[in-house]
């Protein structure tokens, strides 16, 4: 009998407290829109902030409240965007996958560098005379962008940041991290890019970098009628409205190999290709 009483006491107390909690939970119930939870489930859960919200949960709230559209999430695959739109009964937007492009091809063998002994971080390096590189517009290669990428899509090769397109989800974290503003977002379908960002004259660029774009316009000529390329002073860029095909690289025979196919670029197939 001695043991029954304490057990009863604790049991009744527990039940009593449980009932109180139950009642309070009923009285103070907050309606949580279950669509928010559902949408959050369907999001990738990367919490990268690429959508401009505080995280996936916040974005889900925004989408349900109509403050954002599912396509605002750069990590979402097009199928997911369609699925979420269907679930919420709103029209799905077409979404072109964008990936990061580091507009520089000046790796260590090809560029002039001076001694820099400071912190191995691009943003710190820039504070010291703009970073220890002959070209003021080029990639410093300490990988601030690679560090900022939550998906490990950027690799530093020979002191040059290269983007692994298949890993990049287009969250733009790297764009903000690069102190040289080298990184832009381009359509993933485009494969041929001019890897140079310097607006200086060809002769000036060539002194410090073997793979700079010297605006010789061979690529422009090779595109013929099609306006694959855009000229901007001493710099030529791919026209991403009408991206050049990979075959243009062969056809143009870029003398400095600034015009490259991105797969080969990652492989490092262009090492010191100056003619």
């Amino acid at each position: 009998m001695d043991i029954l009483f304490p057990i009863l006491t604790v049991g009744i107390l527990g039940i009593f407290l449980g009932v109180i909690i139950g009642i309070v939970a009923k009285v103070f119930a907050v309606d949580i829109d279950e669509r928010i939870e559902q949408v959050e489930e369907m999001l990738p859960g990367a919490n990268c902030g690429g959508c401009g919200f505080a995280g996936c949960a916040d974005f889900a709230k925004g989408v349900v409240a109509g403050k954002a559209t599912p396509a605002g999430c750069p990590v979402c695959s097009p199928e997911d965007v369609v699925a979420i739109s269907e679930y919420l009964g709103i029209a799905a937007e077409e979404k072109e996958k964008m990936v990061a492009l580091v507009r520089c091809s000046g790796d260590i063998p090809n560029t002039v560098r001076s001694l820099y002994n400071g912190v191995r971080d691009c943003r710190s390096a820039v504070l010291v005379a703009g970073g220890a590189k002959g070209c003021d517009y080029g990639c410093l290669g300490f990988g601030s962008c690679a560090e900022a990428c939550p998906f490990g899509a950027i690799e530093i090769r020979n002191g040059l940041a290269v983007v692994h397109k298949e890993l990049c989800v287009g969250c733009e974290n790297c764009v903000a991290a690069c102190p040289k503003n080298l990184i832009t977002m381009v359509p993933a379908s485009a494969a041929t890019h001019v890897y140079c960002n310097s607006p200086e004259k060809g002769a000036v660029k060539r002194k410090v970098c073997k793979t700079a774009c010297i605006a010789c316009r061979k690529c422009v000529k090779a595109s013929g009628e099609e306006d694959y390329m855009e000229i901007d002073g001493f710099l030529v860029r791919s026209n991403y409205e009408n991206p050049p095909p990979a075959s243009l690289v062969e056809a143009a025979g870029c003398p400095t190999s600034a015009l490259r196919v991105d797969t080969e670029h990652i492989k490092g197939a262009y090492g010191g290709a100056s003619k």
Binding site: T9, V10, L13, L17, I21, F28
Partner: protein, 196 residues
Amino acid sequence: MNEFLVITIGAILVNNFVLSKFLGVCPFLGVSKKLDTALGMSGAVIFVMTLASLVSSIINQLLLVPMKLQYLQTLVFIVVIASLVQLVEIMLQKLSAKLYESLGIFLPLITTNCAVLGAVVLNAKSAPESVQSTWYGATIYGFCSALGFALALILFSSLREKLDLAKVPEAFEGTAISLVTAGILAMAFLGFSGLV
């Protein structure tokens, strides 16, 4: 009256929960990196500890002591504290979503905070007579203990914010220097021991 002054000063300074009883050290170290979060945590602890002291002393005096079930105290108090935190959380979510969001993570943390359980158990076991036998004595004691916790947390977080800017030898960086600082702070509080 005099008695309560003694309890107050004793709980805040002399028998400070964190710095001389070493209870609630994990939130003390974990939530004290920034002053804002320290303030949030302090507010939550003050609220829950006061309430828990009140409720558990009532249960103790009306239920456990008359029935000679004092040995169940720890068990019962844990259940009471956990339910209280749960209740506060539910009500807060409805009444003040803003406060709920800013306290969000801290509230559930308090459920398992040993300082809260410590205060409640001390209330029932080894506190002065006036605390043990009256509900208001217990409440005041709980409230003051929580104030002491808050004081320690706020002091420590301010110190840590300063530490971030200081030049610390590499071997001491991070947790090591925090622990050393906590130790020195605790020694400083030892100086109050003659007060009551």
